[in-house]
């Protein structure tokens, strides 16, 4: 009898523990600290900020800067607002934001990569900020983007870039005598540099990562050859003579031994890793990768230069992109969201971003002593100067789908001997008839 009683008691206790755990799990989302905070700042609002950086990581300098900026805003803003960062991996960022918007929710402030901004606009994850942004751009004075350039087809500004990145040629100065200045230079120097163990040059021709390995090279090169990727109406026009010239040049790089078949399976990340490991002597990669690239044991021999163009006189126009900040479609108070964005873009905070090896969007920061002391100062100046040869471009919402198709077409030309014009025509027709 006693045993039975004991069992019952144990069962009840276990059940109670289970229920308590479950209740604890659910209630932790709305714990006492939040309530206490909102009571303290009765006049301000609690805003959420979605970004791909993890503010709790102390390992990544960019995360540390993000954390500092948010902390400072929370302590100093005149309205008593608080911002809470919610972090997602960059590969799932768009999906999460779109899913949330479909459910009628989302953050107050959202980070959008420039290439994906149109996707956000179409999915309704962001709202126009023109009324605040246009004046703010003028106020800044040293912002590298103009209100015109950031205005979308509907006449609205949706986001403000807070960091810049430009694709440059990274090469090994111990292998290449000089920086390749033209396509011919690159072809000759890279084919001569190739050995049994390493290739002179590499472009990630895999469809992985939305084909970014190819696209970030293809677009500047087609511009260099006098063509366009998309026209003003968003129609594919890369099937021009210039487009054919680019694809045939990539084929020539393979035929001459600068690259080989392994490139077909390599993504953007893979070619950067191969460059770091010394199995590739040259790659086109974004400046945002600098900190990672310079971890390599070959870092002392790494140099960058503008991407070579068709002729030696003109480098390929820069491929510019960057992270931008937008006001979430479901922001509680757009004005307050903008207040945080303005703070984020202040010159002082731009200086902090430079310290984390991010290329700034305000040229005034280059005059700061602490920026001049940065070991990458000269490189940053050089990249910043090169970036002025191109413009940030906001590609259509189905841009990634197009990129993947284009990679497939280039693979067929380079590795299966298909006709470049026919393949590009086929992708362009498919895209334009969508």
């Amino acid at each position: 009898m006693k045993l039975k009683h004991l069992k019952k008691t144990v069962s009840v206790l276990l059940s109670a523990a289970l229920i308590a755990t479950l209740v604890g799990c659910s209630s932790s989302s709305n714990d006492g600290s939040d309530t206490a905070q909102s009571e303290e700042n009765a006049e301000g609002i609690d805003m959420t900020f979605w970004i791909f950086l993890d503010p709790n990581s102390t390992e990544d300098p960019r995360s540390v800067v993000l954390s500092e900026i948010v902390e400072e805003y929370n302590e100093t803003n005149e309205y008593g607002n608080t911002v809470t960062v919610e972090s997602f991996n960059y590969s799932e960022f768009e999906a999460q934001a779109i899913q949330a918007a479909a459910a009628g929710t989302g953050p107050d402030i959202i980070n959008c990569f420039s290439d994906q901004l149109m996707q956000h606009i179409e999915a309704g994850t962001v709202q126009p900020m023109t009324e605040y942004a246009a004046d703010f751009i003028d106020e800044m004075g040293d912002y590298i983007h103009t209100a015109d350039k950031l205005t979308q087809a509907d006449g609205e500004i949706y986001s403000l870039p807070w960091e810049s990145r430009v694709t440059t040629l990274w090469y090994r100065s111990d292998i290449y005598d000089t920086a390749p200045a033209s396509w011919d230079d690159l072809l000759t120097m890279s084919s001569e540099a190739s050995t049994d163990l390493a290739l002179g040059f590499g472009i990630g021709l895999s469809e992985d990562g939305n084909g970014a390995g190819l696209i970030e090279t293809f677009i500047p090169w087609i511009h260099s050859a006098g063509g366009e990727f998309l026209d003003e109406d968003g129609n594919a026009v890369f099937n021009s003579d210039a487009g054919v010239q680019v694809v045939e040049y990539i084929k020539e790089l393979v035929d001459n031994g600068s690259m080989d078949q392994t490139m077909m399976n390599m993504s953007y990340d893979d070619v950067v890793d191969a460059f770091k490991s010394g199995t590739l002597y040259g790659v086109n990669a974004g400046t945002q990768r600098a900190a990672t690239i310079l971890e390599s044991s070959y870092a002392d021999s790494f140099e960058t230069c503008p991407m070579p163009g068709v002729t030696a006189d003109d480098p390929a126009p820069a491929y510019n992109a960057g992270q931008t900040l937008a006001i979430g479609a479901f922001a509680q108070n757009p004005e307050m969201s903008m207040d945080f964005i303005k703070f984020f873009l202040s010159e002082e905070n731009q200086v902090k971003w430079v310290g984390a090896n991010c290329l700034p969007v305000r040229t005034g920061v280059f005059d700061y002593d602490e920026v001049k002391e940065n070991p990458m100062y000269d490189d940053m100046m050089e990249w910043s100067e090169y970036a002025q040869t191109g413009e940030i471009t906001f590609y259509p919402a189905d841009y990634t789908e197009l990129c993947t198709e284009l990679v497939g077409a280039v693979q067929k030309v380079v590795y299966q001997g298909a006709d470049a014009k026919e393949e590009l025509d086929s992708v362009a027709e498919w895209y334009n008839s969508k």
């Binding site: 989302s29 993890d54 503010p55 960019r62 590969s91 899913q99 770091k276």
Partner: protein, 283 residues
Amino acid sequence: MNKKNSSLGKTPGLDFLTVIILIGASVISLFPVLWGLSTALKTDDAVTMFPPEIIPSNITLDNFVSVFTKSDFMIYMRNSILVTLIGVVVATVVAAHAAYALTFFKIRFRKGISFFILMTSMVPPVALLVPLYMLSVKLNLYNTRILLILVYTAWRTPVLTWIMQGFFEKLPMEIVEAGIIDGCSKTKAFYKLILPISQPGIVSAALLSAVYVWNDYLVSSSFITTNEKKMISVGLYQYITQYGIKWGLLMAAVMVSIIPIIILFVCLQRKFVDGMAAGAVKG
């Protein structure tokens, strides 16, 4: 099995061959894990060095130290352990009762019900994400660990029920009948007779579910945005960044993240093998 009657026991040559094949299979299976461990013990520049070093010449624990001290890795681990443990325990308890009822009770349309239960687990998880997302927002459960527990429990219960039903069907009905003759109720027969002898089957099914929940990325990434509630499968992605993949840190985190599952398998190895073998041999 009587060793004398075993074909392996009779043929020494085959024994040797078997051992060689097993060693080969073990090396192939373990190589990715060992390679991961080797990467975790390398410095940043050694990770991408070519030719690569299988045993690092300069072994460092920096990656492990960074994982533990410079990120929220332990929070992710705690969340994963909590969600996996509660989710699998609840799913197993519910499934065991359901499987018992479907196996030993005379229920109308029993086969139909069994098939219907199995069908529910055939719906691709991705198809349920958006409705579940909206439901969770409306119920104010979004961004809570209890939501993860509910979703995992609901997703694993049908499969567990089906697996356990398979195990229970192999048990002789006479055991229950004998128990009832001796004065057991059907419920008591379940706890006193069926559960003890079905332990290998239940443990195997629960273990496979635990691995599923532990490794799942889709659900845990879709319903949680706050860092404090993320699971380890999502947390690992912090090392795959826009600025490049931090291989050393990633591998260190992966090595630590597989430890709980390894411990679980080691502790329950005997029952797991028995359970798998019970499913493999008929009669």
